[in-house]
Symmetry: C2
Subunit: 246 residues, 2 copies
Amino acid sequence: MPTDPSTVTAAVLVIGDEILSGRTKDKNIGTIADYLTAIAIDLREVRVVPDEADAIVDAVNALRARYTYVFTTGGIGPTHDDITADCVARAFGVGIDVDERARAMLLERHRPEDLNAARLRMARIPFGADLIANPVSKAPGFRIGNVYVMAGVPTIMQAMLDEIGPTLATGVRMLSETVEAGDLPEGRFASDLSEIAAAHGSVAIGSYPSITAEGFRNKIVVRGRDADAVERARQEVVAMLARLRR
Amino acid sequence: MPTDPSTVTAAVLVIGDEILSGRTKDKNIGTIADYLTAIAIDLREVRVVPDEADAIVDAVNALRARYTYVFTTGGIGPTHDDITADCVARAFGVGIDVDERARAMLLERHRPEDLNAARLRMARIPFGADLIANPVSKAPGFRIGNVYVMAGVPTIMQAMLDEIGPTLATGVRMLSETVEAGDLPEGRFASDLSEIAAAHGSVAIGSYPSITAEGFRNKIVVRGRDADAVERARQEVVAMLARLRR
């Protein structure tokens, strides 16, 4: 599909050994993908990297140069393996220190005598960043440039995403229509579908098989930003399937 | 944790618009992560890219240069949006055509008169590649160099992974011990844990919070390849938690 100049793009960067070891199964990628699709931002790439400074810095810099927005999850807690804030500061070439606004947020949850050095790590924010409120456990995320740094715990990440959402520039909404191909095999409709796709360059047409208890089932998805174009392609797909089922 | 020279590394490349749009929730990353951890291969990076040739070629080339193995999922079906095989051929700078071994596999499932042009796309294999058998639906995956190309449908991907597993060089097994920190807050044990981590350089120690119906619960995970070192660090973590709970 040709790139629309009004397209707003994004990448997700998941930071955490626990995802790469399989110990934790990521839920944030799917949540962010759904969220961005709903507000017409095109998620173009996802990366998962370990809790290692060079890997995080390199990924932040590669992605922030390429996409409108970068959303990171993970690594902003109080323990020694939480190094995301420091790495993002390094990626941007700025300093980092305890931020008084962030300290005030932590004091909403912790008594002053409990705000030890480890917890204060959660108030370390790169210079020049805006904070992202955390209604669940107070320790904030932050935004610097086009990079949004969020927690890895799914409920906190979702709350932060809700904070961020209204502030984002959004694109022209991507419309999506699904046509059930049922048990008609992909191999039966693939060449006709290819012709429809070629004739409708402004939409993206995908075919998605899954295995159910009854065997293979296929869905054809037509996506695009022009409602009329999506509808024209969808009708051709429906007609094609009816013809092949005859 | 210092890199062990005997470490065997891997990356996963998930190919598919449907993951980035949120329409399909990926299950393969977690499955491959578990599988590789079990056979002592270090999964070091995951990328998800759209069904676009340049994005796929760039990711294949970036990852295959960096890691021992690259495992791709998605994009090897019969429809026009399945472009993984062509992109992998391009990444390696080799030709691609219908492979007679692959055609024979497809003929185990399809009658010759049903093996149309679209289905034959599934037999297009880069020159010099080995095939990966697909016991579920016959259309094979393949290996070229250090890149393993698998289906996106989870049950087929898992079957292909089982085919590949015994052929892989494996590293020294990564051992993992989990210590339940219960409701003891991360902020209470973070600085002690940091000292333990600093004193045990040959192991990686992570702290993982989750939110349960009863509130935050924390787990501390000690990982390493030397059983004695892991056990020594684990005992210090246990003693530290007992001391803080007193």
